[in-house]
């Protein structure tokens, strides 16, 4: 039985601050979503924003950086801090260390935001050189990443202290998943750290003349794909460790849940070349190896699909669902927390299909850099992740503030469905128009080569994007109203930790040992990346001077 544990007010406040910054970021970043989507439909509002925002691309940079990098990182570090300490039932070992990490992220965010808002860093969230942003942009990103590392260290120290107090006890699942996420992130971000510290920052400061754009891409995508798993794994923590309880059942398999997390640690990083299939400077053989490794990381996702759906079936049957599929209707669809995660899962089914298509080596020639790609990742980061985070917020904000959700259940449900419907329309249209050949990152209204036949799909992009806009600001409204309302009823919310069908103590010990998995992770990384990194670094040529082309 899981006894309740009381998280201190100071820690609740600390976690709440993460959420505050996350929601502020997403509320600014999402302003630009419908502007881009409507531009595709032929309604370009950017000229009216000229005094403040200079171009479609500046808007797109803000959208990508704030939503995909800032919202996620702040939400995730806050949420995982809670799952760590609540799961371990002990406070942070060094709360000051975590505070240092957090405030470093805030300083980094502000440092990067200034040049972005001043139109001095309109380089999109991939910031490929030799497009050259203001140095403060690179410095700010570095501080955000290092801050998240430090918050990770705070979690490791807390875990280490708990482990010494509790030898032989299985690490609680939500803690376990959170720690793996942070360790994976630590390894993955070495790529972007190398890119910025050895190339972009000295270059933007005028210390070196040029960059090697191909090597920069290799560094970037070392981090860029695992970034996707950094977003996704916290949602999985909720799907495995909380959703079964919220749905009224238990986790179907504790040991397979843990096994999947280990596979994600092992396989999330050594596959970045699948973002570089059409790069001229990477040999096809290495691309093929990474294709196979990318297929391998599909396996823990397939495991997750089974374990999570089976846990839901277990819950639905316990709630009286009959027949082969009758249990689906028996699930608590009326609870916005559950509905958000179920709908996130449905969208993620399609996200998975698109993902395996992108990953399929030469099949990537059909879709690379087309509108298909943002169509795809809006199903992952903006659906599986963001919609789950919305659902999580509906218990997390009341838990942290002690106040009930300040809107009716119906309103929160409407929010969740609005996002779902908008996303279905938007992402489907983006996939179709991408297959027809529309490029991504392009104001298509200005493109002279767009055939008339695409206009129906482009209209749907605008409609879907607009619906999502309402879905997002309903969410922001709910969270803000709950956080700031004075008179709200007190909430009695617990962190929803799911029990497992199988006693976690019966999970084999090798699934709770770090050292062998870490050795395996590093070894695989060396095999998959080592030779190419050595080759590309030893042949480095810093011959590309910088350009400001916006």
């Amino acid at each position: 039985m899981l006894a309740n544990y009381e998280v201190s007010q100071a820690e609740k406040k600390f976690i709440g601050l993460h959420l505050l910054f996350a929601v502020i970021a997403v509320s600014i970043g999402s302003l630009f979503g419908p502007l881009q989507a409507l531009e595709h439909s032929g309604l370009d509002l950017y000229p009216y924003l000229q005094p403040i925002f200079k171009s479609y691309y500046q808007g797109l940079t803000i959208h990508g950086v704030l939503n995909a990098l800032v919202f996620t990182t702040f939400f995730i570090t806050g949420f995982l801090t809670l799952t760590t300490i609540y799961g371990l039932k002990r406070p942070l070992r060094y709360p000051k260390l975590n505070a240092v990490g957090f405030w470093m992220m805030v300083v980094g965010l502000v440092t990067a935001a200034i040049p972005i808002l001043a139109d001095e860093a309109t380089v999109l969230y991939t910031f490929y050189p030799p497009m050259k942003a203001h140095w403060a942009f690179y410095l700010g990103l570095t501080l955000v990443v290092v801050g998240s590392w430090i918050e990770g260290y705070g979690m490791y120290f807390t875990y280490y202290a708990w482990r010494k107090e509790n030898p032989g006890v299985r690490t609680p699942l939500t803690t376990f998943g959170g720690l793996i996420t942070m360790v994976m992130w630590q390894i993955a971000t070495l790529g972007v750290a190398a890119e910025i510290l050895t190339m972009l920052l000295p270059w933007s400061l005028g210390l070196i003349e040029g960059t090697d754009p191909q090597l920069a891409r290799t560094y970037f995508w070392f981090t860029g794909h695992p970034l996707v798993y950094f977003w996704l794994l916290p949602a999985y923590v909720s799907w495995y460790g909380m959703l079964p309880k919220q749905a009224g059942g238990k986790l179907f398999s504790d040991s397979l849940a843990r096994f999947a997390f280990w596979l994600f640690l092992l396989l999330s990083v050594p596959l970045g070349f699948h973002h570089q299939y059409v790069d001229p400077g990477v040999p096809a053989g290495w691309k093929f190896l990474h294709a196979i490794l990318t297929y391998s990381v599909f396996i823990p996702s397939m495991l997750t699909a089974f374990t999570v759906v089976a846990s839901l079936e277990y819950a639905g049957r316990k709630r009286g669902g009959k027949g082969l599929l009758g249990w689906i209707r028996a699930l608590p669809w009326g609870d916005p927390i559950v509905a958000a995660q179920l709908l996130a899962g449905i969208l993620f089914f399609f996200g998975g299909i698109g993902g395996i298509t992108n990953a399929s080596y030469n099949v990537n020639l059909v879709v690379h850099n087309t509108a298909w790609v943002p169509g795809h990742f809006h199903l992952t980061v903006a659906s599986a992740v963001t919609l789950s985070f919305m659902g999580i917020s509906y218990w997390l904000v009341p838990y942290l503030t002690g106040k009930k959700l300040a809107v009716s259940n119906k309103f929160a449900l409407a929010q969740v469905w609005t996002w779902f419907v908008g996303m279905m329309i938007f992402s489907n249209a983006m996939h179709v128009v991408g297959l027809l050949g529309a490029p991504r990152r392009t104001p298509l209204g200005l493109a002279p080569y767009i055939p008339e036949e695409w206009s129906g799909h482009l209209l749907r992009v605008g409609i879907g994007g607009t619906i999502m806009f309402f879905g997002m600001y309903m969410y922001v409204y709910i969270v803000a109203k709950t956080a700031w309302s004075k008179k709200a009823e007190p909430a009695n919310v617990e962190v929803p930790l799911a029990e497992s069908v199988q006693d976690p103590q019966d999970t084999p010990e090798w699934l709770d040992k770090w050292v062998p998995w870490l050795i395996g992770t590093v070894a695989l990384l060396l095999v998959a990346y080592g030779p190419q990194l050595i080759d590309q670094i030893s042949n480095i040529s810093l011959t590309s001077p910088g350009f400001k082309v916006w």
């Binding site: 490929y128 191909q214 089974f306 080596y361 030469n362 082309v549």
Partner: protein, 161 residues
């Protein structure tokens, strides 16, 4: 270390894992055949160039189409903000064209619509891919990577007659 410590994999889930792996093996075989047996391949390193001088000397000083043999062409394409040179090329239907593309400034993309030509164009690197086009018509090549304010207007046309 008790006896009951085991993975406890439910037989239904075990079969699901088998099915997943089987499916991935089939997909992997399909892309391997298409890539290595049929020749629908992704690019590999072709050459390194100096982006500061590539437009002044060597083949990209005079970009364009070169006929190697009847029905066999090479196309040297230079990408820069915000145009491809040449902007237009004409080949007879049924010809085979090998593209050699590089950039003299920032990163670009080169996608020849309705074909398998879709590559990144990276300063310092040469992107090489081939295509054989039988169907006459106008095939636009468009820039698929953000390259600055004029990115959306960056394209050219391959005319197949």
């Amino acid at each position: 270390m008790t006896e009951k410590q085991s993975m406890h994999i439910d037989p239904y889930e075990k079969n699901w894992i088998r099915l997943s792996i089987g499916l991935l093996v089939v997909f992997a075989l399909a892309v391997t055949i298409a890539g290595f047996a049929m020749g629908i391949q992704v690019p590999s390193p072709e050459a390194r160039v100096d982006p500061r001088t590539v437009a002044d000397e060597g083949p990209w000083a005079e970009p364009g189409l070169r006929e190697l043999a009847p029905g066999k062409y090479e196309a040297y394409v230079l990408a820069q903000t915000w145009q491809f040179t040449p902007r237009e090329m004409t080949i007879p239907a049924g010809s085979e064209v090998t593209f050699y593309i590089t950039s003299k400034d920032v990163q670009h993309g080169f996608k020849l619509q309705n074909t398998n030509i879709n590559v990144m164009v990276i300063p310092g690197q040469v992107s090489k891919l081939s295509v054989k086009i039988d169907e006459p018509g106008r095939y636009d090549y468009i820039c698929t990577e953000f390259c600055g304010l004029g990115h959306a207007a960056m394209f050219g046309t391959l005319i197949v007659e």
